[in-house]
Amino acid sequence: MQKLFARRKKYKTLDDRALVELAAADKEAFGELYERYLTKMYNYVYYRTGNTHDAEDLTAKVFQRAMSHIGTYVDRGLPFQAWLYRIAHNLVANWHRDQGRRKIIALDDFVAHSLQSEAPDRWTEEQEEQKHLMEAVRRLPEDRQQLLLLKFIEQLSNAEIGEIMGRTEGAVKSLYHRTLLALREDLQRQDDIGAARRLSGKEG
């Protein structure tokens, strides 16, 4: 037992590359990689699926797939997390295909907790705005959603995002700019549609 604890302690000091080499034959090494990346994978899948149940199911699949393929992992100089994100991305894409539709995230689950201390009416208003924004994010193409999640949730730099998405730093910066413009346009369009509906409702 002491040996196991000593080994676990040693694994905490190792970098990803060394752990990946060990993980093919040693489950404890894989366990350390799991600890490092569980929350990241969960966040990514959660925001892409919009519910806890599917997020847990797909996160489990990400790590099961990673564990069964770690023996064939080839280090191409990219960070290990890029490989995990790719697995997650493929699983989420399959999930969306199977669903045949895009569910709207139940924003109640993840509205920023900091807002809850504010006045209730202000909080409700903020919640509504966040809901609209999240719906707009989910209407974006997959690569743009991925970029926003990596930038805002993982707070990765453009270079790190580029490594994960297989793009140059400049291409990420450009995609981010275009994503914001598209998002703004979509939100304006939705506002216009909402205003037109309200107007026609009043007239009717």
């Binding site: 034959a25 489950k27 404890e28 894989f30 366990g31 799991y34 600890e35 569980l38 929350t39 969960y42 966040n43 959660y46 925001y47 806890t52 997020a55 847990e56 996160t59 489990a60 790590f63 099961q64 564990m67 924003l107 689950d109 993840f110 509205v111 920023a112 907790h113 900091s114 807002l115 903020e126 705005e129 966040q130 924004l133 999240m134 994010v137 926003l148 999640l149 930038k151 805002f152 949730i153 707070q155 453009n158 910066k173 450009s174 981010y176 700019h177 914001l180 998002l183 703004r184 939100l187």
Partner: protein, 127 residues
Amino acid sequence: MDSHADAKAQDLVDNITGALQQGNSPDPIVDLSDGAHDEYVDLVSLIQGLRDTLVPVEPSAEFAAHLKTQLLISEAGLVARLRKMPARLHVAAILALFAGFSLLLSRRLFGASTAQDISEEPVATAL
């Protein structure tokens, strides 16, 4: 928009995002946007909205622990552990297995003949 203006706009948006993520005011950066001040004010509020909406979530501790157990103590994990055991343990396991089979076999053979002997004994009848 030409490529130079495009690159400048991308840099501005990137810098505004960086400032907001670090909790700094984006105003000094927006002020550098020359004539397009209003457009960037609009984008600042959108970036703020994204920052406040896309917040990290944590998987439940129960799920995290359950999945880890599932991954590390899978069937494949047990096989791998057995393989990594020292050779003397392998020999001991084989010997124990052999001894177990021998015991079962001997019980069946000798146990059956004993039962047969007993059944063949004449039954004493009460007069």
